[in-house]
Each structure stands twice: as C-alpha cells, then as structure tokens.
Symmetry: C4
C-alpha cells in the first residue's frame, strides 16, 4: 500500500471528525444573546478539540511524510489512532454540555491520553519498520513533547475530581506546547538531554 | 474511468461511514460514570463495526490495487458494496441501543452478509474483466476467508434468536480472522486444498 | 483551476450527500422485525436516491474527463449542480417518512428536475468553453437520455397528485434508463434521429 | 508540507461544511406545501451560506495555487479560517430557524466578518512567506473586495438591530460582489487608486 492512500483516508476521517464536532453546538430556539450563553462551554470545548485535531493532523502528516512503505501493522496502528480521534466529538460534547463537570472532563482527558498512546504506537510501528536510523527516528529525536503529554493527561484525569479547571488548564497547556513552535525550549531540552 | 477516482470516491464514502457511526453514541445529559454504562453496548457495537469497516477499507484497497481498468459493471458493483456498508451505522446503532437484542443482532448479521456478497460480486466483476490469469485472481487464491465469512454470518443470523451472544461471538471471530494475518493457518489451508 | 481539484471537491460533496441520506433511516426504539416496517418507505426512497446520486457521480466523472480547462462559469455551474444534489437527503427523507405522500413525491421530482437542469447547464457551459467540435460534444451526441429525463420528471410532478405510485414508477424508470447500458435502444434512437 | 495536502484537507473540510448545513433543513412531519413554508427562511439562509462557502472554496483554491511552500504559520492560519467556516452551519441554522431575527442575523454577520479576517490573515501569512513581489501579491493587487467586505459586515452587524433585512441585503450584496466577475468595476477602482 502506498502512503498516499493512507494519508488521503486519514485526512478524510480527520476532516469529518473536526467538522462533525460542530454539530454538538445545537442551534438555540430563542433569539437573544443570552441564549448563546449556555453554549459558551460547548463552544470553548469545541475550540480546544479543534486545536487538538489540528495538531494531530499536522503531526500525522509530518510522520507519514517520513514513511515510505505501509505494512499491515502500520495500517492498523493508524486506524487505532483514528478510532480514538473519532471519540473526540463525543467527549467534547459531553464535557461542553455539562459545563466542564468532573467526570466528563476526566473522560475527555482519558480519550486524549488514549489518542496520544495510539499516536506513540503508530510512531513505534513506523520506526520499527524503517529502522532506528530512519528519517523519522532522527526527526523525532528525544520526543520530549510526546513523552510529557501523556504524563500531563495522566495527572489531569484524577485532578478533574479536585477541580475540572485544573484539568482543562493542563489540556490547554499541552495544546499550547504543541502549537507554539518554541525552538529555544526545544533546543535547550535537547541539549540538556545530551549533557 | 481511472481506478484512482473510484478509489478516492470509495475512500471518501468509507471515511464518512466510519465517522458518522460515532454519532449513534449520543451524549448523555447526566455527568456520572454510571451515565456512560447504558452506552457500553453502543460503544462495543461501534468498536466492532469500526473494525469491520477498517477491514473492508483495507481489502478494498488491495483489490483495487490489482485493477487496471474500471468498467461500468465494476463501478456499479462497487457502489453496491458501498450501499451495504452505508447501512452499518444504522444496524450498529440499532443493535447497540437495544443491548444486543435478538432481531437487531440478526439484522446486523444480515447487512454483514450482504456486504460480504457485494464484495464477492465486485471481486468477480474485476476478475471477469481482467481474466482468470490476472494478478487479482492469483492474489486471492482459494479465498477461504472470503468463502467462510458468509457461511458464518448465515449461521449467526438464526442463532441470534437462540442467543445474541453466540451471533456476536461469530461476528467477532470473523473480524479477528481478517484482522490477524495468521500466515500459518492460511498456508496450511491452502496446502490442504492442494492435497 | 485544474479539473482535478474540481473533481476532488465534487467527489467529496457527493460522497457526503450519498452517506448522510442514510441518517434519515432513524434507529427504531423497539426491537422487533415489525418495528422496521414503518422504515420500509424511507429505505426504498434511500435506495432510489442512492442510485440517482451514483448515476450523477458516474456521469459527472465522464463529463469532467472530457474537460481540460475550468472557467469561473463552469465552476459555478458545478456548484449549482451540487446545490440541488445536496437537497436529495431532505426530499428523500420527506418522501420516505410520509410513505410516499403526494406533495413530498412531487417535491422529490422537482429537485430531480432541477438537478437535471443544473447538469444540462454545466454540460452547456463546458461545451461552450471547449467548442462544438469538442470531445464532450461528440461523446454526448444527441443526448436523448438527457432530454427525455426532464420531460418525464415534468410529467411525474403533477401526476403525484393523481397517484404517487405513477410518479415513483417514472423516477424508477428514469433511473433504470441511465443504469442499464442498453446500446441497442441507444443506437436505434440515434439512427432514427439521423433519418 | 506540500500545498497539495493542505488543499486536499481544506477541500474535505469545506465539502463537509457545505453539506452538513443542509441538515438544518429538518424534514417536516406533515405533507402539505404549507408545511414547507416555515422552512423557507432556513432554505434561503442555506442558499446564501452555500454561495459564501462556494466563494471561499473558489478563492482559497486560487490563493493556494500561488503558494509553493507551506510553513507552520500558514498551516495554522488555514485551520483558523476553517474554524470560522465551520461555524457557518450553526449561524445559518440559527438565523434561518428564527426567521432572520435581529441577534442571529448579527451573529451570522460576525462569523462572516471573522472568516473574512481569517482569510486576510492567511493571505498575509502567505505573502510574508513568499515575498511582496510574489505571484499572490501581484494577483491580489489592491484587493478592494477583500477590504470592502469586512467594512460592510461591520456595518451590517449593528444594523441587524434596526432591521435584519438591511443586514441580509448587505450580506447578499457582498456575495454578489464576489460572485459576479465584473472586470469593469474592478479595473475602474484599480485605476482610481492609482490616480
């Protein structure tokens, strides 16, 4: 199988996921600004998930760019990632509609965690197939973001029962971590690793 | 018509099918873990159907990879397959929401059966067009999986009225059959056929 | 603009239209075979619309295959066609849910008619741009199917108030006309035209 | 990242947005022509939004056509545009279902404004990356349409509380501005700028 078709299919699924999330923003029956207010947490959850799906799409693309040959293992590791991403509309809707209540916030983090693990498994599958000297292995390097993110999700899940605001702050922090291409931090950490 | 456009269109439809199935996972209005419990059968049915659609996408790709020229017959055989796949969200939702009751489980199996037959018809249409010495005919070989699957679905449909658990075990078994690339079994069976 | 991107976008829209139509098949809350019975007209309407969208996708592909250059006019003629196709899920759902009542059946025919006209306009726009000696003009020939179909829709719309069965028979007849590649009829009619 | 994948992903998202908007056209339960009447404003809002999304798709394509290299900044500017476009189904549904009431009409205009700004930011990001002598900078020229549209939206938002009809007339006017390729006006305005 060529990488291009795996890419095209994944793009299709991710494009649909990112778009059907907006269906959780149910059109209110009344017509005042005040009627939008109960939608605010759904909207904010949508923004957060939109950014997460955008990050996954972006990283997924770069990863497949370094992949020449697709094996059955890579294909199913990819579908496994798409599976967890496909649950984003559900957890986003549940967290948003319940004004960021504890359990939905924890479940939201759990799906983020599983998506991160699925991404890691896919990365491993590609590196295994391509060899440790491959382009992908070199491009990823120490992958401190990939290692820190699941740890922060693991922290955020129980903390949702202390305060969902802590968990959501952690989710936002991880998103910013991936969003902002802070090369200084990256280089510093890489250097630190080397020391 | 070039195979690439048939592939691209099929990929699009399959990507949408695999994603809208998740819309059957309706966001609960309450916020406890217990409120997720009634969703468990819907979730499990979703997992099963996700795997099935993944298998179809995978096999479909390999089949079209061996196809050079697309005739009107192949095109409609392909749309016929997509038609039955498009019913997966409906049967998945019906079986899941009713906690795997007998009739929905039987209907789920019926749609699996029709999709398998549609796949078989598409395979025949391609081999007819390409000749019995074609790459596809060689790649498929005796096609014991393709022959065993409909038989197991046919068994599972009436057995749903004995116990839906038997039927669902059969559906899971068929999925694993396609999922696990057990070459030993495959080779053994092929050898057995030759003897 | 290259034809490929117009094709890809149209394919995407058509793939979504053909798939979201199935969302009108609402999952019943009860679990007997009898509970599927009220869904039968929705299902049949879905089958009919699925075939129609399949025909449009097929013909659309052949038409664009003969198109080299996309102008602004062609682009908007194409979006105009996609607009009417996008109303298929609505009219299919309305006709199906109301057991093929008169008005929904007439409206279903009206949208079929408008899609046929939009297709004709797109064809004209391409031929105008490519010249009357173009490949598309030659491929279409006298285009008796393209001319007969709107006439039959125009007949079917008022007849829906006599009996929706007549209209639906006409819709099915037109679908079969495009589905069955009866070259004898085609050639005969072409010859007749020449005489 | 190659431009083609950004294009393909954007096309996918835009194709889904343009199609799920039609889901706001809820199938009526009764079967008379009169039952379609309450849907008329939803339908008209759908037509308007369909045209807007079509314009964005068209312009987006031309813009990316002039783009060789995709940076992280361009990628996120593009996702930012897709985000605002993804809110079109919500605002279209809200405005349509409430018969073009003041607040929904103003919010509809606000999302149009944000999409226009997002488009402008994306354009800036591409020109910055490609240089002020780039093909895109030359193709856009003075970009009077791109500058006039946000001004008209800004006018339309408060005017919705005077009369939603004024705002909607402005939205239609902007759409026509982009739809009709009136080169005379364009050239005249460009000349005027030069004087």
């Amino acid at each position: 199988m060529k990488t291009t078709r795996l890419e095209a299919f994944s793009d299709g699924v991710i494009a649909i996921i990112i778009t059907i999330m907006v269906l959780e923003l149910k059109v209110p029956h009344a017509t005042e600004f005040a009627d939008l207010k109960p939608l605010l947490p759904v909207f904010l959850a949508y923004v957060l998930s939109f950014i997460y799906v955008g990050i996954y799409w972006n990283n997924h693309h770069h990863m497949l760019h370094c992949t020449k040959h697709v094996t059955g293992g890579i294909l199913w590791a990819n579908l496994h990632l798409l599976f967890w991403l496909s649950l984003f509309p559900f957890t986003t809707g549940w967290m948003g509609e319940n004004h960021l209540a504890s359990t939905p916030t924890a479940v939201y983090g759990y799906v983020l965690l599983m998506a991160a693990l699925a991404y890691y498994i896919l990365q491993r599958a590609i590196i295994t197939q391509q060899g440790r000297d491959s382009l992908l292995a070199a491009a990823i390097g120490y992958d401190w973001k990939g290692k820190l993110s699941p740890v922060l999700y693991l922290l955020a899940i129980p903390l949702a029962f202390v305060s969902p605001w802590i968990s959501n702050s952690l989710y936002i922090f991880v998103a910013l971590l991936w969003l902002i291409p802070d090369r200084r931090i990256e280089r510093a950490l890489v250097t630190q690793d080397k020391v």
